[in-house]
Subunit: 232 residues, 2 copies
Amino acid sequence: MPHKLDESLLISLPPFSKLERSQIREILDQSAARRYEADQSVFSEGDTADRFFMLLDGYIRVIRLTPEGEQVISLHIPSGQLFGIAKAIGRESYPATAMTAAESIVLSWPTRLWDDFLGKYDGFATETYKTVGARVGEMNNRIMEMATLHVEQRVANALLRLINQTGRKIDGGIEIDFPITRQNISEMTGTTLHTVSRLLSAWQKQGIVESQRKRIMVRDAHRLVELSQAGH
Amino acid sequence: MPHKLDESLLISLPPFSKLERSQIREILDQSAARRYEADQSVFSEGDTADRFFMLLDGYIRVIRLTPEGEQVISLHIPSGQLFGIAKAIGRESYPATAMTAAESIVLSWPTRLWDDFLGKYDGFATETYKTVGARVGEMNNRIMEMATLHVEQRVANALLRLINQTGRKIDGGIEIDFPITRQNISEMTGTTLHTVSRLLSAWQKQGIVESQRKRIMVRDAHRLVELSQAGH
DNA sequence: TTCGGAGTTTGCGGCTGCGCAAAGTCCGAG
DNA sequence: CTCGGACTTTGCGCAGCCGCAAACTCCGAA
C-alpha cells in the first residue's frame, strides 16, 4: 500500500547527509515510498532492473536460491542505504532477491531518472558507487571467511557483523533488533540450523550470548571476537 | 621495464570494440604499457588506488591474504578486461592484490584521467561499470558455491570456470593455458592442496582430467559438469 | 651431472560438522 | 483453552576432509 512519505524520515540519512535538502526533495517528487511487513519480497532475482531502492526504515535481507531450493543470505542491509542498484553497474536484471527482515519502509524510483540525476547531482552518483564499493568489500571478506574459517568462527563473525550493523544496546549486552532464526544464521554462514543451535547453546552456557526464539543478544562481545579469530 | 605499446594489441579487445579507434589512442597517449613476468605483483592490497589497469595479454590472479598469511584467490582475470578499478566504485585503496598468473602485458593510467573520460566517452564509463557488475555476479556465485557445495563440487566448478574463461582447445580436451598448481586450486576453493591432489588423481584414473605439474587438461568436461552438480 | 627446491602423491588417524531423528517449547489462531 | 505449526534443542553415528608425515618426481641452476 503506497503512501505519502513522511518527510521527517529523510533528515540526515547517513550516506546522503551532504546532499542539499532541496535536491532530495526533487528526487522524492518522482518516487514512491512503501511499507512492507516482515518477510516480504521487494524484488526477485531475475526481475528486470528498472528501479532503484533506498531503505528508509527496517532491514533488508539479500538472498539467493540454489537450484535445489536452498537459501543463501548474501547480505543484510540496514536502514539509510541504497539497494537494488543493479542497473548502475550495467546489469539488466537483479542478481538476487531482496526480502524484508522486519517491517520496513522502502523508497524507490525508476532507473530512467538515473540519467537526469547523473548530470545534476554529482554527490548522488558518487554515493551510489561508494555503496557498490562497500558491498564489494563485504563480499570479498565473506569469501575469505568461508574459504579459511571453521564453522564456529564463521558463526561468531556473523553475529558480530549483525550486532555491529544492526545492534541495539540493552542492559548487559547488545541485541540484534530484528527477528532472526537459527535457520537464518545457518543461511548466512553456510552451515545447518542444528550446528548453529548447538553453538548458541554452548555459548549461552558460557554466558557469551543469550537467546530466545527469534531473538539473540550478545552479552560478551569480546569473547565472541576471540572465538571469531582463527585461533585454530 | 616500461616500453611503448604495440598498437596491434588493441584491435578488437572484447569490452572495447565499440569505442572508436581514435578514442582509444587518446587514452593511450596518457598511459603506459608494461610487461610482467609470471607471479609478479601489479598492485597490492591497501595501496592507494591511483591507477586503472587493463590487461592486454596474460592472466591476472586477484588474491587476498588472511591475517595468518593464508592466500585466497578471489578471481582470475583473462586478457582484454579492466581491473584495479577500485577508484571507480569509491574506494581509496585497492581491496586486494593483483598478481600475474602468467607473462602479461598491462596497460595502466592515472585515475585522475577518469574524470576527463567520463564526460567525453560515455561508452567508457558504461563498460567500466559493466565490468563491476560482472565481477559482483561472479563473487555472488562464489559465495553461494562455498556455502552450499562440497569440496569435490567446488573443485569441479573451479576447473570448469578456468577452462571456460581461459581454456585452450587441444586434441582430445581443453587445457588451462597458464601454469596452475594444486595449491592454487586449493586457494580458489577453500580446501587443501592435498585434497585437490587426491581429487585430481581420482579423476585422472576415470579419464576425466589429465595433469602434469602446473598443467591441467580436461578430457571429459561433461563428466566434470555432472560432478559439479549438487548430486546427493 | 649433480644437487636442491618446488611441486605432487599417498597413507593414516582423527575430528569437525552433517544427517537423521525425536522430543521439547513457544506462540498465535480459533 | 486447546490445538497445530514454527522454532529449537539434543543425541547418536558416520564420513568427508584436514593435519601430519614421508616419499617421489620433475626441473633448473651451478
